[in-house]
């Protein structure tokens, strides 16, 4: 008879964490709930302390400098080629016709080849990936890291639009707040240069502002709409097109310092009063006097504590940690904690752990590709290779920090289940690499323990090769689901 605590420990590691590492199940088996709560109390939990990493603004400026340097190199190469062509033409003119035909035309100078993998931008990105892999692979449970991933996806940006800031953005705007107040995270996110650029607010100008009057550019309502629809209240919760429009006016002037000609502070946040639409604005039944940057902060503070926001966040958390169809009782309990504590995310997270539903909902939530891939690395004791991880996530449809749209990656089974074939190929590849040093039976015991079904145990035991046995263990339904 398997100890219930052992089963509960394995369950907790998959549902709340990033999957067991060898020994994790035993390590928390005496008190799985207590271990989850204890992880939340670790000093600096969720943050990454790595002085090697650039701030988002530094990374952005470094990218700008590198791009400018490459451009200069190209210009020089083009000049050199023109000069070579001119000399060759002069030489031909001086020759007889016959000899001219035989003379080789000037070879086009090869454009300087830039190896994308060697650019400072790519190096910086891979350093960020390395740090993020460590944060996911090293902790015993990984509950806090799951919270980071949840919030990072909730407040997503895309590397497609903001190429060099994604890692820094997550470290600066998300990680410090996962157990803090929602309103603080909201303010950090919406005022972050990465979000302002991603949702176009850095160029949004109040039509009646000084800049708006002097220039032809004006309002862009993208950020205001997505804050209400995706980040706080949720779609169809009663706000109107007029609210979006007025909120966009409130947010004019929230912009960044251009990196051009500003090597010290380029790509940092700035409130530019010249771009700010003057006057009071009504947003969702309340009029906000024009207090400059404070006007936007006041609206954000109010939408953060709007009851619709509590329900929206509670629903998403319950969907992520319990079931695709979130149990209504859990949603209401989380929302109540959110409302009662003015959005204290530590209290909301604790409510999640001590509620019965995340422990009683059937264990059939399909892991997202990233959750599965990290669980796989943890199970085989891998250190994780940044380049390989990035490639794998692309193949699996969840490229890191590159969601297709501002609502982030989907959190329900329907979006991901058809990718199981691609997972098989990746599992097969990983198994091929590690079969020499990893025992399939041990992986099964370490990663699933009492959760492994008799069928899975039999399939692994009867496999023809260690590689095949490992592939089957990593692809087992109990390992795909949490």
């Amino acid at each position: 008879m398997v100890d219930d605590r052992t089963r509960e420990a394995a369950f907790a590691l998959h549902r709340f964490g990033l999957g067991p590492r060898p020994g994790s199940i035993a390590a928390i088996a005496s008190d799985p709930r207590g271990a989850l709560l204890a992880e939340l109390e670790r000093p600096g939990v969720g943050t990454i302390n790595n002085s090697d990493l650039l701030t988002s603004a530094q990374a952005s400026r470094a990218g700008f400098e590198a791009q400018a340097a490459r451009q200069a190199k190209n210009v020089l190469a083009q000049r050199a080629q023109k000069e070579a062509e001119r000399l060759a033409a002069e030489e031909r003119q001086g020759m007889s016709e016959e000899a001219g035909k035989m003379a080789e035309p000037a070879k086009p100078a090869a454009a300087p080849q830039v190896d994308p993998a060697a650019t400072p931008e790519r190096q910086n990105f891979l350093k960020e990936v390395r740090a993020r892999l460590d944060a996911a692979l090293l902790p015993e449970i990984g509950f806090a890291e799951r919270l980071v991933w949840f919030w990072s996806n909730h407040f997503c940006i895309s590397r497609d639009v903001v190429p060099n800031m994604a890692g820094g953005y997550e470290r600066e705007a998300i990680r410090p707040h996962i157990l803090g107040r929602f309103a603080d995270m909201l303010l950090a996110v919406e005022g972050h240069p990465a979000m302002l650029v991603y949702l176009n607010n850095q160029v949004s100008i109040g039509p009646n502002s000084v800049a708006g009057i002097n220039r032809t550019r004006g309002l862009n309502e993208n950020l205001a709409r997505e804050i209400l629809e995706l980040h706080t209240l949720g779609v169809r919760t009663g706000y109107s097109q007029t609210d979006v429009f007025n909120f966009a006016k409130v947010l004019t002037g929230w912009t960044i310092l251009p990196p051009v000609n500003n090597p010290e502070h380029g790509a940092e946040f700035v409130f530019n009063a010249r771009m700010h639409e003057p006057g009071p604005q009504q947003v969702i039944d309340k009029t906000y006097p024009d207090t400059g940057v404070e006007q936007g902060r006041a609206v954000l503070a109010d939408v953060a504590r709007n009851p619709a926001t509590a329900t929206h966040i509670a629903t998403k958390l319950a969907r992520h940690f319990a079931a695709d169809d979130p149990p209504p009782a859990l949603v209401e309990r989380l929302a109540k904690t959110f409302r009662d504590t003015d959005g204290d995310l530590k209290e909301v997270t604790k409510t999640l752990v001590v509620s019965p539903e995340p422990w009683s909902s059937p264990r059939d939530k399909l892991k997202r590709p990233s959750e599965w891939a990290i669980a796989l690395s943890r199970a085989v004791g891998g250190r994780g290779d940044p380049q390989r991880f990035v490639n794998g996530q692309r193949v699996l449809g969840e490229p890191l920090w590159q969601p297709p749209a501002p609502q982030g990656f989907a959190d329900t089974e329907g979006a991901w289940i058809d990718g199981v074939g691609a997972r098989l190929d990746i599992a097969n590849n990983v198994a091929q690499r590690v079969a020499g040093r990893v025992d399939p039976g041990e992986v099964l015991a370490d990663a699933l323990g009492p959760l492994a079904s008799a069928e899975t145990r039999a399939a692994v035991a009867l496999a023809e090769t260690r590689q095949q046995a490992l592939t089957l263990a990593l692809m087992a339904p109990e390992f795909q689901r949490r």
Partner: protein, 415 residues
């Protein structure tokens, strides 16, 4: 705006990078001696219909968009469609098909959704329901599940065909799908796959169903000598529009090779993102022109690889809603309403822009900001499903587009 932070290459992703498809031949169509193919392409992000087919004959057009308006004497000049509309110059292939009566543009059309959330809009577009909500099936899948099948096209499988690891809602649902995805790592052996499938069958039927979809396609590709080897890491963040163009043509072209085969799937779907042009839209020669060029190249690759089967093909390109009629404060357009639906294929009676034109005066615009929608997109989709795949009216109203009894299938779209 600093070049470093601008989105010079809009995030144009093959939404899921994969094709999702259904392997049967529709029985009724087969009985008529036809073997029809349909590819549905979902353009996510809300495509600016006015930047695709510009109403150059409307006296208010240039007033509305100023020097951002596509015009016949623009740089580059828009491609004339009829006396009123002209096509974006980035789409010469679509123009060629239009002149050959193999492309149709339905303008000022929209789903019944009238708010401006992408995600609700896409739900309505793909689910086929008239209101947003959380749906677990799409109109195309429900159409397939109600289509009487004339045996299995592919004797090994019984599935529809979708492209990519993230299944678009439009093809989710009861009819089983097969999935093909470009650039996979070296596949697991058939024996490993068979063992895993056996495990899934006994423990997790949903996973079993999903894995079977891959198995059928791998077999189909092997039998026809198609290359499914990995093409290496392609990082879209580091490549220019030319590479994106090549990639899209490769993905859509591969989809065509499946649909073209005698025993291949017959109905497929895929999605592209990147149409959310809030800023520096660049309809004539900027970002949007680049993306439309990518789409145009993909259509050409599809046509080419369909070979003779192009004559029995309809490609349907749809988006969740349009964009504001006027240019916004940042040289882009915000979320709007009416837009275009594009049809291409040798089975069409094309060469027409179908529009009940609402006009562009302030009073004509929906909520004084968007191109008004005068044609319900469901009429277009119903017209294709009815005349091409032979779905009957009752099924279209009851299962495929619930609550659409008032919306009659648009007649005469097919040749």
């Amino acid at each position: 705006m600093p070049a470093l932070l601008s989105s010079t290459r809009r995030d144009f992703l093959i939404g899921s990078g994969a094709l999702f498809a259904w392997a049967h031949t529709p029985r009724l169509a087969r009985a008529e001696g036809r073997d029809p193919r349909v590819l549905v392409v979902v353009l996510r992000g809300a495509l600016d219909g006015l930047a695709v087919a510009a109403p150059v004959g409307d006296p208010d057009w240039v007033k509305l968009r100023g020097d951002r308006a596509l015009v016949l004497d623009g740089k580059p000049p828009a491609l004339p469609l009829d006396s009123f509309f002209a096509l974006n110059p980035a789409m010469p292939n679509l123009h060629r098909l239009y002149q050959a009566q193999q492309a149709t543009i339905v303008h000022a059309s929209a789903t019944p959704y009238r708010d401006r959330s992408h995600f609700d809009g896409q739900d309505v577009l793909e689910s086929g329901f008239s209101k947003p909500g959380s749906y677990d099936s799409g109109w195309l899948n429900r159409a397939l599940s109600r289509l009487e099948a004339d045996g299995r096209v592919n004797p090994r499988g019984s599935r529809a065909f979708a492209v990519g690891p993230v299944t678009p809602l439009v093809v989710r649902g009861p009819a089983p799908l097969m999935t093909w995805m470009p650039r996979q790592p070296l596949p697991a052996s058939e024996d490993t796959q068979a063992r895993l499938l056996d495990l899934y069958v006994h423990t997790d039927p949903k996973l079993a169903r999903a894995l079977e979809g891959r198995k059928d396609l791998v077999a189909l590709a092997r039998d026809s000598g198609m290359d499914t080897k990995p093409a290496g890491d392609q990082n879209p963040a580091l490549v220019g529009i030319a590479r994106v163009r090549e990639y899209a043509a490769e993905v859509v072209g591969s989809a065509a090779r499946y649909l073209a085969q005698p025993d291949g799937p017959r109905v497929g779907a895929l999605s592209f993102t990147g149409w959310d042009t809030h800023i520096n839209e660049g309809a004539a020669s900027g970002a949007l022109a680049g993306l439309l060029g990518v789409l145009d190249g993909a259509i050409a690759a599809f046509e080419r690889n369909m070979g003779a089967a192009w004559g029995e093909t309809v490609v349907v390109l749809i988006t969740e809603f349009g964009r504001t009629a006027r240019i916004n404060g940042t040289d882009g357009t915000d979320h709007g309403t009416g837009t275009v639906a594009l049809l291409a294929g040798g089975a069409l009676r094309g060469g027409r822009v179908i529009a009940d034109w609402p006009g562009l005066k302030d009073a004509n615009l929906y909520e004084n900001r968007d191109l008004a929608a005068t044609t319900d997109l469901r009429a277009v989709l119903k017209g294709v499903l009815k005349d091409h795949l032979r779905l009957d009216d009752t099924v279209l109203v009851n299962s495929v587009f619930p609550g659409s009894a008032d919306i009659k299938p648009m007649p005469g779209l097919l040749a």
